[in-house]
């Protein structure tokens, strides 16, 4: 069955004709064309589908599109201002904390959710915040480094 779904995505009210069975991930990628959010496992284990719902990191593959109305959703497309990358994105680039890049949108959003509430995280807190994001390429060391330098750039220290 089809249904109209209206929710706030990246600060804009969006309405899409979705299937009642769509997950939030399918709504974002297939109905709204926001393919920055990735699907890895489809069952909550890899974190490539991470988006922020009202500021909290969630797996878009485990949330129904029908649960989205009334919520404020931030995807990786909503982070940069025009051509200017967000400081977390800049830090990922500068540190070389990305290789194939498949995990990167999710990691950036997990990092944002962390830095929004904890401007000065320890390495352990960063590792906890990204424990739900698998990266098969970089080995996390540089990711942690990048998030630390983003924290510094954002004024945490």
């Amino acid at each position: 069955m089809k249904t109209l779904i209206t929710c706030t995505v990246n600060g804009e009210e969006r309405t899409a004709l979705a299937d009642t069975r769509d997950t939030l991930l399918e709504l974002l990628r297939d109905r709204l064309g926001l393919t920055g959010t990735k699907e890895g496992c489809g069952n909550g284990n890899c974190g490539t589908c991470t988006v922020l719902v009202d500021g909290a990191a969630v797996c878009a593959c485990l949330m129904l599109a029908q649960e989205a109305p009334g919520h404020d959703i931030l995807t990786i497309e909503g982070l940069a201002t025009g051509d200017a990358l967000h400081p977390i994105q800049q830090a990922i680039v500068a540190t070389g904390a990305t290789q194939c890049g498949f995990c990167t949108p999710g990691i950036v959003l997990s990092a944002k959710a962390l830095l929004d509430v904890n401007a000065l995280p320890t390495d352990a807190e960063i590792r906890h915040a990204i424990a739900g994001n698998l990266c098969r390429c970089t080995g996390y060391g540089k990711v942690v480094e990048a998030i630390q330098s983003a924290a510094a750039a954002l004024g945490g220290r």
Binding site: D19, T20, L62
Partner: protein, 319 residues
């Protein structure tokens, strides 16, 4: 042209009309979001309905085709199911649909039930904790459910509502087998109520996972001890995870604790009792023998943690 328009254009060229090759990952279902408990219960009376809380178990199970559901009743719109309230007795009532993140950040829980907050922080990673509820952890009834042992140690009571009214029962009596509880399809778990912890007492939960985070416990042990004025253990509960068809109490271990003063030797012996109580299976995550060894060590360490919380040095020579 937007991406969906472009895609539709390509589809219209290459895919015969009427044939929808798009993979729909879930079977069809109705979705309802009641605002009151009464509305939720009315929806559940309609046969093929199932409660949706955080969906971290249920949506994955539906995608794998392990569950077919006619109607999903999303209970997150019902205020009394999502809140955490202090009770008249000075305990706490945790709404069944409150997220693990909400539970782990709640000040009454952090103050009086720190092991419950810590257990909530063990469920998956941040993304899962922001959605997963304790009610879902309980009702999914995995023997490995991490929130359950600490709740049992705190003498949690499940408050259940159904067409015939409400009923209450001790949390551990809810579990029937893997994935099975005594909660009927027409009922729902409203809250988990914890009495105020008696003083001096302590609770701890430890689990063993190959990975530090984002993994399922091969074994887990929760322990509770209450001391009398002489420093003798007056009351004890030991609750085990992943070593039986359901979360389970360990009666031999509990009996061995009561009436004793905590010493290193006692804790080691109680660990061995808990290993005897365990009924583990052998599977890809661990053999039965390995799980028993883990239970012995985890029970001993959880008890040592309780002792540390109570300021007892278990290495001190007993008087």
């Amino acid at each position: 042209m937007t991406f969906p328009q472009l895609r539709e254009r390509i589809w219209s060229v290459y895919v015969p009309a009427g044939l929808d090759l798009r993979r729909q990952s879930l079977q069809d279902f109705d979705y309802e979001r009641p605002q009151t408990l009464a509305e939720a219960l009315a929806l559940l009376r309609g046969g093929d309905a199932r409660v949706l809380a955080g969906g971290t178990d249920l949506i994955a199970q539906m995608r794998e085709g392990r569950r077919s559901v006619g109607c999903l009743v999303d209970i997150k719109g019902v205020g009394e199911l999502t809140g955490i309230a202090t009770t008249a007795e000075g305990g706490v009532a945790i709404g069944a649909a409150a997220s693990a993140a909400t539970v782990s950040r709640s000040s009454p829980i952090a103050a009086n039930y720190p092991a419950v907050a810590q257990s909530a922080r063990l469920i998956g990673g941040v993304q899962v904790q922001n959605r997963a509820s304790l009610g879902g952890n309980i009702c999914n009834a995995a023997p490995s459910a991490d929130a359950v042992p600490a709740l049992i140690c705190h003498a949690a009571v499940a408050h259940i509502a159904g067409p015939a009214g409400t009923r209450q029962l001790p949390l551990e009596e809810l579990f029937v087998g893997p994935g099975k509880t005594t909660i009927e399809p027409s009922e729902l778990l409203v809250s988990i109520v914890l009495p105020p912890p008696p003083a001096p007492s302590a609770v701890a939960y430890l689990r063993f996972t190959p990975r530090r985070e984002m993994d399922i416990a091969i074994a887990g042990a929760g322990t509770y001890i209450r001391l009398d004025r002489q420093g003798v253990i007056a009351e004890a509960r030991v609750a085990l995870a992943s070593v039986g068809p359901t979360p389970m109490r360990a009666p031999l271990a509990e009996q061995r604790l009561v009436g004793e003063r905590p010493t290193r030797a006692l804790l080691e012996e109680v660990g061995r009792c808990a290993a005897q109580d365990a009924r583990p299976i052998t599977d890809t995550r661990g053999s039965g023998d390995y799980r028993r060894s883990l239970v012995a060590v985890l029970t001993m360490r959880a008890l040592a943690d309780c002792c540390a919380q109570l300021g007892i040095d278990v290495e001190a020579p007993s008087k």
